[in-house]
Subunit: 129 residues, 2 copies
Amino acid sequence: MSFQPPLSGKEQDETEEFRPKFDAHGLIAAVAQDADTGDVLMLAWMNAEALTATLETGRATYWSRSRGKLWVKGETSGHFQDVIEVYTDCDQDAVVMKIRQTDAACHTGRKSCFYRRVDGTNRLVKTDS
Amino acid sequence: MSFQPPLSGKEQDETEEFRPKFDAHGLIAAVAQDADTGDVLMLAWMNAEALTATLETGRATYWSRSRGKLWVKGETSGHFQDVIEVYTDCDQDAVVMKIRQTDAACHTGRKSCFYRRVDGTNRLVKTDS
């Protein structure tokens, strides 16, 4: 699969063609949301190859910015993300995936990466302890 | 408010200090999630100033990459986002805000920016029509 380039303004907002708008690094933001609970589990990045793989295989696949390589979520941990639905936003520079998570989404072993609440100015409160 | 620099690895994962990890452009991704329904309404960007303003005012404030300026969501439309809670992820390069949205989050007038489902390879299906 290859993607058509994005349109501009209202055309991009209203088109029924998927024309993802990758940033200068060739990436879009991808949010993984639990299909059952609605909890946001993680946010990571996809390039065109990762996005294509996600759509074609039904398993969330990201681009690891730190490792500079394609990353099938769960390929080492077994913590796969089965993709139920994918949505894109008005300018198509982000996707939200409704997923079913095997075990933990977070590499720390927690279900979600968002396990700390910002408390006031510069403190975090862990919500799992 | 000024932020401390991020730590590395497990220290960043487990600290109870908020040390947001801004990217090379000084930005982090910010997800606005409806506090009541759990729907993801939009994804945008914050620099340190926008993040500070969000935390201090309780109104979601972003950095507009296209306009190159701080952007209090709703300042022109009246469609404010009142922030109930803010969560950050393991490496602190993203935040999820639980918000209450006045009217529409999307500039198209829709409640959510994620109003199109990716259908197969390169088609979108509007979910509001």
